[in-house]
Symmetry: C2
Subunit: 319 residues, 2 copies
């Protein structure tokens, strides 16, 4: 199976699913709300009345988080419209993720999303929102699997520049793109995402080698295709690539254990399990063992120090 | 669960899946090829060079059949372009079905589709086809479940007119829509689809009541939401609704047992099983019993007479 089909959050709506273990990501989305709101408001004010607004959500995953940013953006535009006495524009929403993403769960949540859009609008007392104004489609994105695996600084620069180039071809002049990227604070250290989330997984896998539950060479050949750039790297690549101007670039800190009901082991599991299954086999018992061990390490780590994660948010305007 | 989420072909790529039991539908698609080809060629010739062609496949299901019509249409346009020395336009393809459809299988087949597009083009010796010219998105359509269940002639007229009205709003002036609809030959008889495909299922369910495997009232309350119009009804409704002019309307006959490797019981199962499961419970053993019995009835029926099915194909142009 191609990595593009494996690299996805855990589907469905079960206990281990991303849909039920993505409070952390939700919190980050809420933290970036003011930035995406500002971007779409500025875009809206630059349009003629009646123009359609196209929104693409890149890496939409599957679950309630899929609809959160879109729902917020539509609400923001509606408020702009209400205060200016303008008619709501039509929205074309493209929910995009890798082909292995659970799009079925997304489509089954669509009626709820439309109901929520209606309610969100009724509450403000200015009439009904007609969901037919909001056309939603799912789009399977492509990736370059081999390059993802060879992730290191130079490779990241090339990949991110390519990403910017293709997105710029899809955007109209003046179009906006807001990216939220887990990052390292500077060039000289590992990202906290690696330190707090992936190192415990590495320790667990090595423990299981010692216990002879899994083979050492299997663990040595296991990679999680993640690279965390620093804010300076992002700025450098965007400016060098040249399709976008940076409207805003800032880092946001977020404490991992501050979400109520948050379960770190389950959250990491929802992200990493499809990769583990591909490499170590579809063994649910082994997965339980791995993430039970991880859970203990996470608990210890959180008791010792605050697990703070850093994201860089960059709001871009197409030249 | 809403009927809109249940009313779908059997997902996945397993033995009972629609993906592996849709030779019959494929044959019908191939029979209508010349009509859809003619429609898209006429549309293409009416465009200025460089305009994007949007194609929506309504009821795309999941499996190889999903990509067959799109692939054919693109090939037809490419041949037009080659013979006129014009550049290939960009295609926006919207694959649409009810929310319960297995879109995951579609997205996982996308890389194969893109590869096939490339090969299809290479063979003709005029260079590579760049798949980025073909943007594909999945769209979950909506339905009105209660009205589907109350399907009878008057209701069908209302539903079909509503369908035409909404589609006409989505199409540009001069836009084309080709519909293929299983039909009755005239107003005075049941459709062959009912007679050959659904009556054996009804007989089987009644047998199982006699054997006390299922309850009589359960069977009495089971409905398959299907209505087969006659060609005259289609013509009448299209003209009365008034958004489209009829470019062509014809019936196509197709013998059921003429597809090599075709398994009627499995084909009906791929369509009806989700409805049966919803009504009688998720009992795989019962489903096996039902469709094994059906298989015998189908075999008898095909030995006695030719199982000929009639479809009406109507090619419409938006006023």
């Amino acid at each position: 199976m191609e990595l593009a089909n494996v690299l996805h959050m855990t589907g469905g709506i079960g206990d281990s699913s991303y849909a039920r273990n993505s409070l952390f990501q939700q919190k980050v989305m809420l933290m970036t709300k003011s930035i995406t709101d500002e971007a779409i408001s500025a875009l809206y004010r630059s349009l003629s009345n009646g123009e359609t607004i196209c929104i693409a959500e890149l890496g939409c995953s599957s679950g309630p988080n899929t609809f959160l940013p879109v729902s917020q953006l539509i609400k923001t535009i509606r408020e702009e419209c209400t205060s200016n006495g303008q008619q709501l524009p039509e929205f074309h929403v493209f929910l995009s993720d890798l082909p292995g993403n659970d799009f079925n769960t997304i489509f089954r949540l669509l009626p709820t999303f439309h109901e929520d859009l209606k309610k969100q609008n009724m509450r403000s007392g200015d009439g009904l929102f007609d969901p037919s104004y909001c056309f939603v489609a799912g789009v399977a994105a492509s990736t370059s699997p081999s390059s993802v695996l060879k992730a290191y600084s130079k490779q990241y620069e090339r990949d991110f520049a390519t990403f910017l180039k293709y997105r710029s071809e899809e955007l109209v002049k003046g179009g906006r793109m807001v990216l939220t990227i887990p990052c390292r604070e500077n060039e000289h250290q590992l990202s906290n995402a690696c330190r707090f989330m992936l190192e415990p997984l590495a320790i667990t896998l090595k423990d299981l080698v010692t216990e002879e539950s899994i083979e050492e060479e299997k663990v040595d050949s296991f990679n999680v295709p993640v690279y965390s750039p620093s804010p300076a790297e992002i700025k450098y690549i965007v400016e060098k690539e040249g399709s976008f101007t940076i409207d805003l670039l800032k880092t946001l800190e977020h404490q991992m254990d501050s979400c109520e009901g948050y379960n770190e082991a389950q959250s990491v599991r929802a992200i990493v399990q499809p990769l583990l299954i591909r490499h170590f086999g579809d063994d649910n018992k082994l997965m339980d063992v791995v993430f039970n061990k991880c859970r203990d390490i996470y608990a210890n780590s959180m008791a010792k120090e605050k697990n703070i994660f850093t994201n860089v948010v960059v709001s871009l305007i197409k030249f």
